[in-house]
């Protein structure tokens, strides 16, 4: 279990306990956090679960797999701290993770 904080573009903060094994995307979708559309359902095929990860967490996350960077090319305003939240699996080590959700996806 990890506490994940999602900052949405309406300046709201959502801190949620997300079970280990779920992805950061699933944590958002299951808790109705706006801005994570996840159109493709976690298949790394759409870039609509794009988030900006707080800088200090970047190195602590599982590395990007092949294809994630390609898909981020398609994301709305990608930055150096961009990740697809469907590719971040939650574990105890991610307790306290903070992500910003872009103002829109696509």
């Amino acid at each position: 279990m990890a506490k994940i904080t999602y900052y949405t573009h309406d300046n709201k903060t959502h801190t949620i306990d997300v079970q280990n094994g779920l992805t950061v995307m699933e944590g958002a979708v299951q808790n109705d956090i706006p801005g994570i559309d996840a159109d493709c359902g976690g298949g790394m095929a759409c870039a609509t679960c794009h988030v900006y990860v707080k800088e200090e967490w970047l190195d602590k996350l599982p590395a990007k797999e092949d294809g994630e960077e390609d898909m981020l090319d398609m994301a709305f305003e990608p930055k150096n701290n961009s990740r697809l939240s469907c590719q971040i699996t939650v574990s105890d080590e991610l307790d306290g993770l903070e992500v910003d959700i872009p103002s829109k996806q696509g």
Binding site: D39, C46, E69, D70, D73, E77, P78, N80, G106
Partner: protein
């Protein structure tokens, strides 16, 4: 005006199988899709990726699944209207009048929405001013490449479309290719070619840059691009092209008076009809308690929706339940010769 029993919106696996089920029970249908080919997400997002959960098919790709479905509905000669998006919907007594983006009109008894997560639209620039130039000097696809001759064109993106067009247009135009990182998702051979052209001065490659702003009066005159580290360059451009793939959007369906919940259409599970009589929704686009977004669920939903359409298409007839194995009528419709 195309007159048919049922209009299916969306040519993904669910829409295709629904066409089969309509054919089996003797109803005609036509299919509209915004993409240029049938198959929906299966063909657009994962043509080569394997699918393992189609009943009785241990493994197939999105493309194979699509081709098999097309083969399965071949006997019914279903008419496809591709590159068309359904725009308008009007009730006319007991029938529906439907109009597409390209002006194709339909007169149908029932409508089945099998629109997946929405219609595929090009992903656009996030810079607001881009809207102003869209269609005159800023494009997301190319219809007539002759307009670019001897002009300066700034192409954004790192996939195959961006690379292929950069190479192609560099023959007769001055091309700038701008991409947000050093890596590209397009084919390696194209990446090499682009780098070669850049070295030979036949194309200008800018990596780790993204669009910052566009300016011009009626037409684009220049575009500013911003490096990862903050440096801004202004480059003269007559045209700007963006190739960022496709995104799915619900579009005009939102305006049809349907009960929409989280980008999905609410239906009953008896025949997958929506809150509007004669309009059904199946596949990823429909929601009901227990909904699973699986292709197999879409097939089931399509079979029931097809039967739900029957009473609108043939109000004076009664639908009999039959098996294709033994039904003479169904086999005739399938063109089976004994």
């Amino acid at each position: 005006m195309n007159k048919t029993d049922v209009l299916i919106i969306g040519a993904g696996p669910t829409g295709l199988f629904c066409a089969h089920q309509l054919g089996i029970i003797g109803l005609s249908c036509e299919i509209v899709d915004n993409l240029d080919k049938a198959g929906g997400q299966c063909i657009e997002l994962y043509p080569d990726k394997p699918i393992y959960d189609i009943p009785a098919v241990p493994e197939c790709t999105g493309e194979e699944l699509t081709n098999n479905l097309l083969k399965q509905i071949k006997p019914f000669n279903v008419k496809f209207h591709l590159n068309e998006r359904v725009e308008e919907l009007k009730k006319n007594q007991n029938r529906w009048h439907v109009k597409t983006s390209g002006g194709v009109e339909f007169d149908v008894a029932a409508i089945v929405i099998a629109g997946g997560v929405g219609s595929f639209e090009p992903r656009k620039f996030s810079v607001k001013e881009c809207e102003k130039f869209e269609g005159n000097s800023l494009f997301y696809s190319i219809k007539d490449k002759s307009i670019f001759k001897d002009k300066t064109i700034s192409i954004f993106g790192g996939g195959d479309s961006a690379l292929d067009w950069a190479i192609e247009l560099s023959n007769n135009s001055k091309v700038n290719l701008i991409h947000r990182r050093d890596g590209f998702s397009g084919a390696e051979a194209s990446v090499q070619k682009v780098k070669e052209l850049n070295d030979q001065g036949k194309l200008n490659l800018f990596t780790k840059y993204q669009m910052d702003s566009v300016s011009g009066d009626k037409q684009i005159e220049s575009v500013k691009i911003k490096h990862d580290e903050g440096e801004i360059k202004e480059i003269k451009s007559d045209y700007v092209l963006g190739f960022f793939g496709l995104i799915m959007q619900l579009g005009p369906i939102l305006d049809w008076g349907l009960n929409i919940n989280k980008k999905t259409v609410e239906v009953n599970t008896e025949n997958f009809e929506t809150n509007v009589q004669g309009i059904f929704a199946i596949g990823d686009i429909c929601s009901y308690p227990g909904k699973l977004k699986l292709i197999l669920s879409g097939f089931h939903e399509g079979a029931l929706a097809a039967r739900g359409c029957f009473k609108y298409a043939k109000p004076d007839e009664k639908l009999r339940f039959e098996f294709t194995t033994t039904s003479k009528a169904a086999q005739e419709r399938l063109g089976i010769k004994k």
